[in-house]
């Protein structure tokens, strides 16, 4: 299976309708693949039916049917913030069944369309309802507790997390589709940003955004091959897991993806990781096998994941600074990797990429999709 075309809208606070954003990203992916909608024989979607954005639209599949004038199988995958990656994983499984040549995969979300507390509440619904929601444990608070445990166990400091944010903001500065494009954010800005849920500061958190991203998964050979596609799950609440600071869903999905690809973590040349919070990126370094447990801080301190490092991570700016339109995020990661593999990233271009990885997380490590791509000459 191959990535034939990719497309995405800018991630920002634009108030276009979701249909408009979907159309824009799909059209770009079709143009990129030099294809027409005529050739698409299945569509896999991901979207969260956000209630607070005023659209009140459910049953996205039939809306997409109207939008694209298509009567092919259209299915919707829901996996919280891992919706995009899970949609791609589903499309890979669907295509491997043998019936579909070209599958359009789209993730889209319009979430920044109401006051902050409504948006917070919308996202809060992704946490466990009785133990977490009723105790006010929203995602920043949940991740703050994980971050604190990580700091207590492994000696990571607030500066380590600030370095993750700074790196990703520097990358987003160069990405025209990022919410923080051309916006300077200094290390001081990050370190002095207000506390959201201690020890998490505002700039430790990803920035919500509206947007859509699309890709075409094809049996036709192109220059980007999907070498590994895996999905892992874990219990909804980190507090009920044996170890809050190591996420099994990532380890399971990554293990399977490496196995499918026949490679090891050291083969990865570039990665787009799910940095919903800076601590998640650090933990993910460990869970994906880029370093040993507790050593994630060393990776960021040594600059290994900087754009000029040995393993550049989140060259797009990541969820942190490119923006995080929930279901669009997973597909936008593939967009960035595809553009990087085709040398189309301008000032943030990374050289000599052979293997690329995308890790997309739903909840606090509850659902994880990992994809490994290979550049084919």
């Amino acid at each position: 299976m191959f990535i034939k075309g990719v497309g995405m809208t800018e991630f920002g606070v634009q108030q276009d309708s979701t249909s408009h954003m979907v159309y824009e990203s799909a059209l770009e992916s079709l143009d990129d693949a030099n294809m027409s909608m005529e050739e698409i024989d299945a569509i896999v979607l991901s979207n969260n039916d956000i209630l607070s954005n005023g659209e009140r639209q459910r049953h996205s599949a039939s809306v997409i049917s109207s939008l694209f004038k298509k009567k092919v199988p259209i299915i919707t995958m829901l996996a919280g913030c891992a919706g995009g990656g899970t949609a791609l994983w589903t499309a890979v499984k669907l295509q491997s069944s043998g019936n579909y040549n070209n599958i359009l995969v789209i993730g889209f979300e319009k979430i920044v369309a109401n006051v902050n507390k409504k948006v917070t509440d919308e996202i809060l619904m992704g946490t466990e309802r009785i133990y977490e929601q009723s105790e006010g444990l929203n995602f920043p608070a949940e991740n703050a507790l994980v971050m604190q445990q990580y700091m207590l166990m492994h000696g990571a400091t607030s500066d380590d997390f600030a370095s993750v944010a700074y790196k990703n903001h520097q990358n987003a500065f160069l990405n025209p589709k990022a919410r923080f494009y051309n916006t300077k954010v200094s290390l001081e800005d990050i370190k002095n940003s207000p506390i959201v849920a201690s020890p998490l500061r505002l700039f430790d958190c990803s920035i919500p955004a509206n947007g859509a991203a699309a890709l075409i998964l094809s049996k036709d050979e192109t220059d980007i091959k999907v070498l590994g596609s895996a999905e892992g799950s874990d219990y909804i609440a980190p507090f009920e897991r044996e170890d809050m600071t190591s996420w099994d869903a990532t380890k399971l999905a990554a293990g399977e993806a490496y196995k499918q690809a026949g490679i090891t973590p050291s083969d990865i040349d570039i990665a787009e990781l799910h940095d919903a919070f800076t601590s998640v990126e650090l933990i993910s370094y460990e869970d994906l096998g880029f370093c040993k447990k507790g050593k994630g801080k060393e990776i960021i301190r040594k600059g290994i994941t900087s754009i000029n490092g040995k393993l550049p991570v989140n060259t797009s700016g990541g969820l942190k600074a490119k923006g995080h339109p929930i279901s669009a995020t997973g597909i936008s990661q593939i967009y960035e990797l595809a553009k990087q593999m085709r040398n189309e990233c301008g000032k943030r271009q990374v050289d000599n990429i052979k293997y690329a990885m995308a890790q997309n997380i739903g909840g606090a490590g509850s659902t994880v999709a990992v994809h490994i791509l290979k550049k084919v000459n």
Binding site: N116, K117, K118, T120, D121, L124, E128, I130, Y131, E132, Q133, S134, E135, G136, L137, N138, P140, A141, A144, L145, Q148, Q149, L152, P194, I195, V196, A197, S198, P199, L200, A237, F239, E240, M244
Partner: protein, 489 residues
Amino acid sequence: MIIRWICEKCNKKWIYPVEKCVYCKGNITKQRGTKLKVAGITKVFIPSPMHPIIPYNILLLQDEFGNRLPKKTMKDYKVGDSYVEEKAKTDDAVSIVKVKYDTYEAIKDAVGLLKGNKLEGDDKVLIKASIVTAAYPYQAVNNNPDFLSALLNVLFDYGIRKESIMVAEQALIGSDSLDAASKSGILDVCKKHNVGFADISKGPFEEVESEGLKFKIFKEALNRKVINCPIMKTNFQIGISGAVENLSRLVDEQTQREMYFDDIDKTLPKLVKLLSGSIELITIADATNGMQGQGPLSLGEPAFLNLILASKNAAALDAAFCEATMLDIPPHVANSSNTGYIDAKNIEIVGNELDALKYHIKAPAPNDTAHPDIKVIDGKACPACLNMLYNLSSKLVGLRGQQINLVIGSAITDTMLKEKERLVALGDCAIRKLESLEARPTAKICENMDEIEQILLLKKLLVTAGIPKITPVDKVKTKMKKLLSRVMG
């Protein structure tokens, strides 16, 4: 306390109650961790609708088995601190416990946090349930059957025998108690646990005098320990129907009518004080699925509060509930305290902190009915007139027209009528009161008027700009409809 459900055979753990292990099919036991330590803490600065007051802390608590649990608090702790749930020090304390998937544990916890012995093996108990009208459990009008079932299990744990327990209630005047108990699922729970259900409206009653008022009180209530079990609801007429209001249905229908006629805000507190002084009374309130908005008879909707409250002081419990849900403390609750005034800050709260619980539920709109053109001017009408009001107004939904103001109850003042037009006196109390105030209503609807005629008159009022007249043709039509409705059953 942290509870985990554990398989006896393979030791798998759940944070939810499960019946059997899905792997080895082993039996499940509860693991209760009681030695809690603070393993982590975060101070949260972002508000959300259910958590509007910031900053607040969330503790990551860990028990002696290594099980963890998040807990919201306004107090500051440090990692490593012990976490102890303090028990009440005063008799009037209110305990508030969140239901963590297990109502039984929450009730036990709520009662256990109160001061002194509350319920014992030799007790003869009357559970004053809250079943006001025939409605399904999901409508949150009546006690949740799961709540009653859990409460009975708690009582059995205390050693109280089935034959010593009576579940008792009477529906609102005009509603059939057994119908209501049946549809609400409460009757099934009584049958399942082999506990008797008594329809209070059938008596017998005993007359007791207090502060110049005579109350005919359900005799069984005077001879037993009473567990007052309101389902916590908003109420368009009196603010909330809670612990205090639930006691109003321990008296006969005539007394209830008189209490409303003489101003329920003043008479009900006298009953509550009388009961509190003469019987052993504990309130265990069902706020699992409470109600918000207009209240039980109109446009109220479920509020998924997931709480159990308990107290020996009914007024304090209501006041704590109002504070937690950010509603005003209504006069009938304030008047039920010894001083006639309640400040929630002075109530001892155990279990959860009030500030950590607070969020807005939908308050009632005192003048609204189900019909956009029919407004209410309420003079503390009795439940019979309220029932009539909601019956009539809901049957006319869809027929838009001229706005009318239905006047009900006897506690009407000139101020309430000021600048109000097209007044319609509904019920005998309101008709008499308007006459005494020399107000001239556009129409009068007596209680003994046939329902079809009442609807016809209201219809005419809606669609006619002036004073409507019931013509001979209307009367014939009404008779035909009556006949038809009898034939159709």
